[in-house]
Amino acid sequence: MTNPRSKKLQLVIFIIFSILLFLAITWRITAGDYKMDIYTFFKSLIGQGEYTDHLILMKFRMPRMIIVVLAGMALSLSGAVIQSITKNPLAEPGILGINAGGGFAIAVLISIGQVNPNTFIYVLPLVSAVGGVLAVTLIFLLSFNKGRGISPTSMILIGVGISTALSGGSIAIIRKFNESQTEFISAWMAGSIWGDEWPFVIAFLPWVITIIPFLFLKSNVLNIINTHDQLAIGLGVNLNAERIVLLISAAFLSSTAVAVVGSIGFVGLMGPHIAKSLVGPRHQLFLPIALLTGALLLVVSDTIGQTIMSTTAIPTGIVVAIIGAPYFLFLMYRTKSI
């Protein structure tokens, strides 16, 4: 039932953003301490390059690239779903405390210690997801009101509270750590992408390729949830059940992403918002675009963070926040309804 014209528009925008993303990736891979020109990049990509180029590309730059792209997609899609469920354009996994939940779980895991370094990588996304889902469940339970159901606004405020509590808890746990653990967690909290090797890709990929299609299949439900509650109930949608399933999937998606890239906010806010402003609020149309915008944002932020200073790299999460927070404030300034 989608208007064929908007379908066409979506296709055009999809292609444009794919090209932009590809250009950003090329920029990211060719920039850096070890200069690699575009020609060498393509030659190495198809296996014709020199040994060092090939090594640097395949061992260092490629896995990081893939992680960044996948995490951008995951965070953006998760943000899109959360915005639709809460009917609040300012909601996103970072603000709701899902990232903090993942971080807290990781801090607990490290403090318990004795983790097998071989399995650690694969356990990490799961542990983080458990933390994220628990945080979201807590928020859901606290914002549930018997008479009125779930109030989106109080949900966000409660999220802010929970997120503060969990970050405080993580800091309290860190204090007991030794120096390398503290360094790891503080880097994690700043959102420096630390999981940039192939095993992390393998640990993260399964969640992305199962949850993203699932959420795409739910596009229509999301369209209905985004309308008035009464209408949704009238159309036969079991609102609360669907909300719970969607919220948990979204939390799972973003907290597995956060486990490998660190606590990165605002991608889940900006990605979907840009997509919606281009192709409209229908989920079938804007969700695919949101994947690309999220990935693009993270790739660009990562490149800026890695290259802007010659002495140290700035954690990607910091770059994203410096870009994303003003965007959020601008959105708030414009949205007078809240």
């Binding site: 109080s154 509590a165 405080g168 808890g169 007991k176 410096i322 404030l329």
Partner: protein, 333 residues
């Protein structure tokens, strides 16, 4: 007449109890710690100081400044919170939730980056400027069209502004390699308080609180609503601006001493209003006492737990309280 006198006695009793609690916690806090020291030694250390006695040294050079630091921070945050809540007529306002603390932290980290050994008086000044920057940003954006401060907008703007300012401070500290000390700072801790900080911080806090107290009549009236206040012939704008600036000053000082501590300024004015009503001539002094008790108590607990961050300890009480307030609907006060 009789019931009025009874109410007065009640208020007096509440103040006495709050004062006693504060003093008891202060004493307890000096006694407890990794080296337990008995009360006679404390008095000896104060009145008959022996520089060769290690316990005297611990008390005078470490414990007492630390506790006075906690006391000052508690007073500053609670009174600052009361001021902000009254001006924004928003029960969810708190110095660190509306961007004052993160603004102060940013300017502090910039100052440290540029010159690591600045005197404390300059640090107070810079953190005051930072609090003004952060607070103004949040209030400009959090203000709704109809000239009111919607609690949700204010909190959301606070979250975003804090995220932005903290990201910039992190970038600054990474660039100048200050990271280790800053983590310590953002976690909040009074353990490093020195007498030098107190000599400068104490008079400023006391002055600000006294001015607040002198303005408390206007605050009470402002609390009734802008139109009522105007009708009663008040210069609403002046009261507002003065209150906000004083609140920013107090929040800035507390960040300079302890780092970012949330929820003191949120909870304490609530409790004070619950105990003595909305008359700010009572709310301000009671908030000061209760705030001091909370931070001193939390710092003692933190010390007994092996130097856990004070902010985390306070969050354990503060977050449930915050959630409870939201549940109640976050109504304007």
């Amino acid at each position: 007449m009789r019931s009025k006198r009874l109410a007065l006695i009640h208020t007096f009793l509440k103040f006495t109890i709050a004062g006693l609690i504060m003093m008891a916690l202060f004493l307890l806090s000096v006694v407890l710690g990794s080296a337990n020291i008995n009360i006679p030694t404390i008095f000896q250390a104060i009145f008959d100081f022996d520089p060769l006695n290690i316990n005297h040294m611990i008390i005078v050079d470490i414990r007492i400044p630390r506790n006075i630091g906690a006391l000052l921070v508690g007073i500053a945050l609670a009174v600052s919170g009361a001021g902000i809540q009254s001006v924004t007529r928003n029960s969810l306002a708190d110095p660190s939730l509306i961007g004052l603390s993160s603004g102060a932290a940013l300017t502090l980290s910039l100052t440290y980056a540029l010159s690591p050994s600045v005197p404390f008086s300059i640090l107070i000044l810079t953190s005051f400027v930072g609090a003004i920057i952060g607070g103004t940003m949040v209030m400009m954006i959090g203000r709704s069209r109809r000239n009111g401060f919607n609690p949700i907008r204010l909190i959301l703007a606070g979250v975003a502004v804090s995220a932005l300012l903290s990201a910039i401070s992190q970038a600054v500290s990474l660039y100048f390699r200050l990271n280790q000390s800053l983590i310590f700072w953002s976690a909040g801790g009074v353990s490093g308080t020195t007498w030098e900080q107190l000599y400068i911080g104490m008079p400023v806090v006391i002055m600000a609180v006294i001015i607040f107290f002198l303005m408390s009549r206007q605050l009470t009236i402002l609390n009734l609503g802008e139109s009522v206040a105007q009708g009663l012939g008040q210069n609403v704008k002046f009261t507002r601006v003065a209150t906000i600036i004083l609140s920013m000053l107090l929040a800035g000082i507390s960040v300079a001493i302890v780092g970012q501590v949330a929820f003191v300024g949120l909870m304490i004015p609530h409790i004070a209003r619950f105990l003595v009503g909305t008359d700010y001539r009572r709310v301000i002094p009671l908030s000061a006492m209760l705030g001091a008790s909370l931070v001193v108590g939390a710092d003692t607990v933190a010390r007994l737990m092996g130097e856990a961050p004070v902010s985390a300890i306070i969050s354990f009480i503060g977050v449930p309280y915050f959630l409870y307030l939201i549940k109640k609907g976050g109504k304007p006060i």
